[in-house]
């Protein structure tokens, strides 16, 4: 009994220390964003803004070269559109691959799965040209559409569809429903948790995507938040009050989403991994 209690004490001490290591940088980010310019550069660093100030936010929200609100809107539009595109196209494809018999199914599925193992670096240069040909450089389409081709969603939903017993669909078919109606009215409602998980993972991945937006979105007003943070950093080298305000703005939506839906996100990741 005694060893058990001591074990618990050791465990909690370890976990709390580790927890502090993970939370304190985030707390400091928020604290700094409410400091004045001088306070943010002060030594020793303080954990309470003195005076409390919203100057940093006012300053970056009104600066011409760094339209943070516009970036926020861009990120929101891109992430929602990308997530919808991923879920819509992957669900339809996964339905055909999980439930229909047709010549070429093995080939199509094999080709999709094979690309799970293709390092994404190989696509960067040619996709830039493809996006250029489509006239999408420096538009949100460039960060919405190409990444929706990821094989992960199809693989993930196909696995889930296979785990659903086919009886309900058979019953609907006997009632005269066609494939599209079965898909919409039987399969999708049964798959809500999986669809929600995929939608969330796609949303997070797109919101946080960095390399691609940095290179395909060049004008300040077209950028998403992560690319914008990079612009903000080059414009305000050591103005950490401003940089932390920008970082907070980019973090709040995902942290709120995470706070409410962490079970979906963590379980989605732990079951199948998240692929960008």
């Amino acid at each position: 009994m005694r060893a058990g209690t001591a074990g618990q004490v050791v465990r909690y001490t370890l976990l709390v220390l580790l927890g502090l290591l993970f939370l304190s940088p985030l707390v400091f980010m928020v604290v700094t964003s409410f400091k004045t310019r001088g306070d943010a550069g002060g030594i020793p660093p303080s954990w309470i803004p003195d005076p409390f100030s919203t100057q940093a936010y006012e300053s970056i929200l009104t600066a011409r070269g760094t339209p943070v609100l516009r970036w926020f809107a861009n990120s929101l539009v891109a992430a929602l559109a990308n997530s919808a595109l991923v879920v819509g196209t992957a669900a339809m494809a996964a339905y055909a691959l999980a439930r229909m018999e047709f010549r070429g199914r093995g080939l199509v599925f094999g080709a999709i799965i094979a690309t799970l193992f293709v390092p994404p670096v190989i696509l960067i240069i040619p996709n830039y040209l493809v996006v250029g040909e489509l006239g999408w450089l420096n538009t949100l389409a460039a960060v919405i559409v190409p990444t929706a081709a990821s094989a992960f969603g199809v693989f993930f939903l196909r696995q889930f569809f296979l785990s659903i017993p086919a009886e309900l669909e058979e019953a609907a078919r006997l009632d005269g429903a066609n494939a599209w109606q079965i898909f919409l009215r039987v399969l999708l409602p049964l798959s809500r948790p999986a669809l929600a998980t995929l939608a969330l993972l796609a949303l997070l991945t797109n919101w946080n995507d960095f390399l691609w937006p940095v290179y395909v979105l060049f004008s300040p007003e077209m950028q998403t938040l992560p690319a914008g943070l990079s612009t903000l950093q080059s414009a305000n080298a050591v103005r950490y009050d401003l940089l932390m305000a920008g970082a907070v703005i980019a973090s709040v939506p995902v942290l709120v989403l995470f706070a409410f839906l962490q079970r979906f996100i963590i379980e989605g990741v732990s079951r199948s991994g998240l692929k960008g």
Binding site: M29, A93, L123, G132, Q233, E267
Partner: protein, 321 residues
């Protein structure tokens, strides 16, 4: 409304074996075109942004391809030859970036395999607040690399950063140039990456640990195995498939390191921490030498593929013993 005939389950399962397209009970399953109509939207994306680019990339790599110039002369394998010719301009910068990726992968992967496992082992028991701790450790991962890197660029600041300040308070050197000197920059980049992605690997390990049947531990205990023996004889074998998966995705993620270097060290000091993917993006998308950049990405891909096969082989080999 939906009547469920008694015979439905076996019939539904037997359809595949019964022959494709055969009408069952007079109800056709679906038309010939139906599967392709369902596949069409995804396949359009897949062909345009995955299959076509893989082929196009190889084609580009055989040309001197400048995005901004009209002429794109065919140069055969010259772009590849340059990458392996110590006399050429691209040789030095490419292999230095490959070495940077190698150094980062070599130091980050072991930490990202072991530390999350320790965290998962500590978490793999029933106790109050477990889900809260799990969420806290996972939180940095949902922030994305840009936020994490900009935040740590501040914490690692030579003069006013928290890290140097608290090191000084502990009586350690407080003037380390974390972002502009070696090897400190590597310590910083690896450390930040561990902080950022530890929770990700931890939750994968944790899920796998929870899938190991309790009875196996009980049986081992009955046989007199101590905690260490239980770990080696029950936990490790139970984790093997997941370990292979985690090793693979961690190596690929580390080999793709970009944002940390771009935002924290700007590839510096000099270009020492400019990784391969950073070099490829700058060569192809800033300097528009796309032929050379495409050749680099094929070489990097080849290296990663060989590495992946080696890992599969490694984990397979041990399983048969």
């Amino acid at each position: 409304m939906t009547s469920t005939p008694v015979a439905a389950p076996p019939a539904g399962l037997a359809v595949g074996a019964a022959g494709r397209g055969a009408p069952r009970r007079g109800v056709p399953r679906h038309g010939k075109a139906t599967p392709w109509l369902f596949l069409a939207p995804y396949l359009a994306l897949f062909v345009t942004f995955v299959i076509l680019p893989v082929v196009l990339g190889a084609w580009i790599s055989l040309h001197q391809w400048d995005f901004t110039l009209p002429g794109k002369p065919f140069v055969g394998l010259d772009n590849y030859r340059d990458l392996f010719d110590p006399e050429s301009i691209s040789y030095e910068s490419f292999w230095r970036s490959m070495r940077a990726t190698g150094v980062f992968t070599l130091f980050s992967v072991p930490l990202l395999l072991v530390v999350p496992l320790l965290v998962a082992l500590v978490m793999n028991q029933r106790f109050r607040g477990r889900n809260l701790f799990r969420a806290v450790f996972f939180a940095p991962y949902v922030l994305g690399v840009a936020v994490v890197a900009v935040l740590w660029r501040y914490l690692l600041d030579n003069n006013i950063g928290l890290i140097n300040y608290y090191l000084g308070r502990l009586g350690l050197p407080d003037d380390t140039a974390w972002t502009t000197s070696l090897p400190a920059a590597w310590v910083a980049l690896v450390g930040v990456t561990v902080w950022w992605t530890l929770g990700y690997n931890s939750v994968i390990y944790l899920a796998a640990l929870q899938d190991i049947p309790r009875e196996l531990y009980e049986a081992a205990r009955v046989d007199g195995a101590n905690a260490w023996q239980q770990f080696w004889n029950v936990t490790v074998p139970g984790l093997r498939p997941v370990l292979a998966f985690v090793t693979m995705i961690t190596i690929l993620a580390s080999a793709n390191m970009f944002g940390q270097s771009y935002l924290i060290t700007q590839g510096g000091p000099g270009r020492e921490t400019r990784t391969a993917i950073y070099q490829i993006a700058e060569t192809g998308l800033r300097n528009y030498q796309m032929g050379s950049a495409a050749a680099m990405s094929y070489v990097l891909t080849a290296v990663l593929m060989v590495l992946s096969v080696a890992i599969f082989w490694l984990f397979r080999e041990r399983r048969t013993r």
